[in-house]
Subunit: 433 residues, 2 copies
């Protein structure tokens, strides 16, 4: 029987569920897959916190770095989740000691992956991270093994459960962003600290960084990301979008365009016929187009201790399976340093919300600016609130294809007009059905 | 550089696309994955048929069995697709000669897999079949590697593109089964020969046989299947189902219930909130529930030469990756011969369509039979066609939970009544949202 001796640093939701699942399934795993998982040591900040497993059944290490002194440990599992600091040190030292590493730490890998994956390859050990992207959805292994020999055209996904929950609930319950954020915190989907990474789109961008490397063989480079968070999305926009046949989702998308990296996380209007539009609540999903598949769609739990722990366990199985597949699929030396695409030159469709004073001639002035820049308007919704002459009037415009940089010229002109009462909301409309 | 020398028997849609994709991607694959695919020989019935690649670039073998005389062949790819005969002989002889086999042949594996997988394991070679189930969706590898250490609760899917196309088009275009079947043949989705396997649900059952073994570690046994095809489904049912909040799909589902195998392919009413309800056209999809994941949903192309060929290529990559994972995930000796569950004892919800004469008192008679057997009715739709007194009146009934065997007693009673003009249509309603 194959044996894996593991140690675990970080015993939050994922770490605790990992231990609990291993306890429940140890015999099942031994019988199904002929391998034994032995937990040789654990470490966390607080030894006194109440957890879903009995701490005293395991050897406790106050300092996670001391886990590396365990003699026969095959795998270090890093679930502390710091972007730098102890997480970085622990992973690095583990790889230097030729101990395989499994981590759920997307921020660490997005920022320091280039160094860490090279170190793993040099020392002939694995650095695995199925749990770092889309929780329980096996997207890493799908890209690295199942469809690795495809030439991937485009990857597009919903990679953050918290923001998807917020957008879904704002729309379904007609509640404001701030109200729903509080509900999300109450439900434990996010914390005040995490919320900034979630809402700002940074957590999604960390994950997209890894997916981009897996899909296109690009050097891991977080700076390739263009990120826009939810800041300007209002419930009103979600409702208007739906009237136009769209849902608004925080979409992370990557492709190679003219041999340059397109890697963008931003809220987008998605046609209700696109499967991504129906991914609701805390679910995550990924949509792939390749030279051999018109579409492959995966949907599942993007977060949660149990689902994420299941991905850690699948990494343990990869290590036990003794494959010759590299941590990133590619050998590090094959990764290419693609140029970052200037996205301002890409042509897209846009949704605009302009808040104006209720005075005559506003609409004709606005449309004349668009005409001057040859931007063709697809639809206009003017939604006057006749009950209150003092309230700003929202004008919703959807455009035909236009470069963002051209659009921004018009936006800047219009925003300077006195009848415009607020910054104009600009959301891209996804062209793919 | 790793090398795989392959030979291919069967050059229909999948075989031809396989060669064409390898030709296009040979350098790409060599550079991305450091392995070379060499096609050492090909064989098919007709050397003169026009194909999408140049036959003369490859060594032709008139008899596919002669492919096994090639000295340095690592992999035999069987794409002839016979359930027995030459396909069986070729696969068996190849495994006996310790040559890995890749096949898309679900019928062969569902019927003879038990023998063939044992032979592969004995001879320490792989018998791979990603292309045999759900075309381009990597469901085999997902079950065998990505979530192999999960305890799977239930698998449910749409595994046949042709029937899904037929059901979708009957509903969307309000056309009859026979009309749409002709369209499906014209489009090349099925042939007169294949149609029987598709429409009868047998093709889906072949695939479900393999999935059941992967999910539950059961001995491969086609006899575990309970199969109902589309025979009794009319466009009228699809429209009524939609009015009640459902789509009708040909669903293949397996689970272990009281340690017995539940393995059923049948048309079902699926709530429009269930992602399977929105899988339209020739797409396939699979929905999984495990001890660690509430849901994992995969959707993609279930057929088509290119998509299916891509799964053959992923099997080549598995062979090149030199993993120690078995063909079925499990070692053959671990497979369990579960008892087949008596599904007539399972409680379900049902949709019934009863075609009756337009005479007074019919509804009260029908409902009294249900009352006598304590079957509780959820909804009744009586849809009289006032334009024509001669035409039968359809009565649609949905029931609360009832055992099929109890339901059948009532059905038999009602069918004997003179006012009932046709066999009653009985379709199960899926309980899972």
């Amino acid at each position: 029987m194959n044996q894996l001796n593991i140690c675990i640093a970080g015993l939050g939701n994922v770490g605790s569920n990992l231990i609990s699942t291993i306890e429940k399934n140890k015999d099942f795993i031994a019988s199904k897959a002929s391998f034994l998982i032995n937990i040789k040591g654990i470490s966390a900040k607080n030894p006194n916190k109440k957890r879903i497993f009995k701490l005293k059944n395991y050897k406790w290490f106050h300092n996670p770095l001391d886990l590396l002194t365990i003699n026969d440990c095959n795998v270090l599992i890093e679930l502390i989740g710091d972007e730098k600091g102890i997480s970085y040190n622990l992973v690095k030292k583990s790889l230097e000691k030729k101990i395989n590493v499994i981590t759920a730490n997307k921020a660490l890998l997005a920022k320091n992956g280039s160094e860490l994956f090279r170190l793993a390859e040099k020392n002939n050990v694995l650095l695995l991270y199925e749990a770092a992207v889309a929780g329980g959805i096996p997207i890493i292994r799908t890209l690295k093994q199942n469809i690795f020999l495809h030439n991937i055209k485009r990857i597009s996904g919903i990679l953050n459960g918290t923001t998807n929950y917020i957008l879904t609930t704002m729309f379904n319950k007609n509640k404001s962003f701030d109200e729903v954020l509080e509900i999300a915190k109450d439900k434990g989907y996010t914390t005040t600290n995490e919320a900034e990474l979630d809402i700002g789109g940074l957590d999604s961008a960390h994950k997209l960084t890894l997916l981009t490397t897996l899909c296109f063989g690009s050097v891991i480079n977080y700076n390739n990301n263009n990120v826009t968070g939810l800041a300007n999305i209002e419930t009103f926009d979600l409702i208007n979008a739906y009237k136009l046949g769209y849902k608004i989702k925080l979409i992370s998308e990557a492709s190679l365009i003219n041999n340059q990296i397109y890697c963008v996380t931003e809220p987008k209007l998605i046609s209700i016929n696109n499967p991504l539009a129906n991914v609701d609540g805390v679910l995550n999903a990924i949509y792939l187009e390749t030279d051999q598949l018109e579409s492959l769609f995966l949907e599942g739990e993007g977060a949660g201790g149990k689902a994420t722990a299941s991905s850690v366990i699948s990494d343990l199985y990869e290590i036990a399976s003794n494959t010759n597949i590299k941590s990133l699929g590619y050998s590090n030396k094959k990764l290419i340093n693609f140029k970052k695409l200037d996205i301002s030159a890409i042509k897209s469709l846009y949704y605009l919300r302009i808040m104006t004073k209720d005075i005559a001639g506003v609409l004709s002035k606005i449309t004349s600016y668009f005409k001057n820049f040859n931007i063709s308007i697809e639809k206009i919704l003017q939604l006057p609130d006749t009950s209150n002459k003092e309230k700003p009037i929202p004008i919703i415009i959807t455009t035909h294809e236009v470069q963002k940089k051209i659009l921004m010229k018009v936006i800047n002109k219009i925003e300077k007009q006195k009848f415009v009462l607020a910054k104009i909301t600009i959301i891209q409309i996804d062209k793919n059905l």
